[in-house]
Symmetry: C2
Subunit: 433 residues, 2 copies
Amino acid sequence: MLTKEKGVCTKFVQEFFMKNLKGACILGQSGGPTSVINASACGVFLEALKHDLITDIYGASHGIRGILNEELIDIRQENIEELELLKTTPSSSIGSVRYKLKDPSIDDTDYKRILEVFKKYNIRYFFYNGGNDSMDTCNKISKFMQKSGYECNCIGIPKTIDNDLVMTDHTPGFGSAAKYIATTMMELSQDACVYDTPMICVCEIMGRNAGWLTAASALATYKGFGPDLIYLPEVVFDFDKFINDVEECYKKNQKVLIAVSEGVKTKDGKYIPEALGEMAKDSFGHAQLGGTAQILADKLKNHFKCKVRAIEFNLMQRCAQHLASQVDVNEAFNAGSMAVKYSLDGITDKMVSFKRVLVDGKYTCEYELVDLSLVANDEKKVPLEWINENKNGLNEKFIAYAMPLIQGDMKAPLEDGLPRFAKLKKILANTNR
Amino acid sequence: MLTKEKGVCTKFVQEFFMKNLKGACILGQSGGPTSVINASACGVFLEALKHDLITDIYGASHGIRGILNEELIDIRQENIEELELLKTTPSSSIGSVRYKLKDPSIDDTDYKRILEVFKKYNIRYFFYNGGNDSMDTCNKISKFMQKSGYECNCIGIPKTIDNDLVMTDHTPGFGSAAKYIATTMMELSQDACVYDTPMICVCEIMGRNAGWLTAASALATYKGFGPDLIYLPEVVFDFDKFINDVEECYKKNQKVLIAVSEGVKTKDGKYIPEALGEMAKDSFGHAQLGGTAQILADKLKNHFKCKVRAIEFNLMQRCAQHLASQVDVNEAFNAGSMAVKYSLDGITDKMVSFKRVLVDGKYTCEYELVDLSLVANDEKKVPLEWINENKNGLNEKFIAYAMPLIQGDMKAPLEDGLPRFAKLKKILANTNR
């Protein structure tokens, strides 16, 4: 009993202490761009500016590397108008990174350096915005701080167009990318059928293991202007079935629009460029993988002897802020501001997660917390029961899931007919202290 | 004197007659899609509906081929709400075609067939919407009708994202494509610089002979978020100079964003895939040309040993109605309605052309007329004095020219967060008459 009471007492003292931490906060952006990463940054910075407990506000230049290199952008020196414009500025304005921290039990050099920098700048609030790799980074840093006895509330903010994070209904960035993909598919369906000659068009969409983004093209089909066939990495790709599927559609009016994930694999577990492509070699003799869409288009051209186009949605699908979903922008912003609020409440070692709640049948989002360790390095795929019987499209369950996430428009204000993005000064904090 | 007076008299009678022609009108859409071709169709149809002289209103299914095949869409059977939605529906809703009429002095079969169909349906107003090839078609039909003594007012309506028509300040479709290219370039500039590692990105933009679209990427540079280097087909492409240009930019921060026209040619007059690509062969042994951006990206990768991305703007640049310029949509609509008004005034054998007029320094557009024969088969290029000294960018003259054309937003109304495009019934006119 005594132990337990002592435990409770210690926990109380610790929580009280963690709750009234006075110090600086820092945000790091990590992983691939989305249209709304900066909306989360905007949420963090504007919320942090409201609280006296938070002294300095830093942006880590290029995520964790900015901390290791002691390159901390002093956010208090930015104009508030520019910080507000971050809400509608795509990509990562303070710079992103792909950096995997080592297991601290094997090599804790980076962790010690991070602790050193945190101590030097009295950083007591650490926010890390990214996908599952980034949540792993956040989790490792959080655990190291705890182990070191350094009070610092660490909160992960989800982000990824791939929508593959577990323990959250969806991720910020997905709704806007889905809106881009569905809208673009609708437009392409108008373009691809314009002539009275046969036409097959293969569109390649991002997503190495999870097919959420490719599935979003089904929203266009649902509206009557979308792809005839959709292939996700969740289903083994069979080339003969693919040709049969296309033939079925081709019979109707010689127009076929196809959406395919870059991540589809054959039954041998090979990506299309490995399985079907003629691998070119670069000057070093390295194999160069062609695009999935281009390889499939070439195969279809040989089979159907008609015009076949390959289209890669490429980087546009992850940075087309002009097509951002209002729901997505607002949720990303809220994820950032909630992270600050929770951290000031003494919360640490958690990721902000999204819970879908229907109020009178209307979609709303609530912001909950999940253990970082449960999110790190896991991934969520499209449920197989949301895929149609023919394994080449999505059913109404996916539509019901995705449709609320693409609602509304929230793009950057226009200046001269073009987006007015945030222009940050990015003045680094003085390292002499 | 008598002859001259007789001539004047005949002209008067003829004009009076041409002015009070009672009969059907027909619109054909021809050539590659733009975001605003249907806005011109909307202008034609809504204007035609206002006038008692115009009996039936037809849309030629797939342009001139619809006339030859006697597939005439009966526009009076469409819902007015759907016709209004054409204003913000991309591509060619009644179907486009690439069909080149023969010289009538060599083979007038098609012309006779067209005349036959015109007579059968009492078509007295012919509108053809397209680029320079289509204006050639319109010109040939116009001349044949005149020669045959069949009264039919023929008016061309300009259209092309390429902006390469002569005798007009600009063409409908260019402004929206330019806005797409500039906006997308701004977004890509945010994406391409996100990591702290070197990155070169080569974007390929449409335009086989004229560089207007590629030049539009300079609008992004003007706003501070655009390509560092821009290569137009108006300038001979020199690979060594290209590498030097990239090296100059690369020195600064190892981030280079490049816009290149698919139409750039080396001094031998070869396109990049011919000059630098390793031409693959398809199963028939035909040479397959790779993309210009991909080939240049591969060369840069070998030279700089860093990450290099190739991005093709592909079909999106010509059908991204969600980024349509309001100026462009309205001008395209007006070009259509003015064509109807002019034709009812007895005008024939002309194309509606755009004249830029500055009123108190503010851009406005006036709708004039030019002879079809002057427009047909000619093309307008970017003036060399609008290109910078280094031949890898545009100067302020281009910015002043292009900026007014991309102003304002006019996209399709949203339904479920996605565009609501026109849905036409496309009921064909009864061929038994």
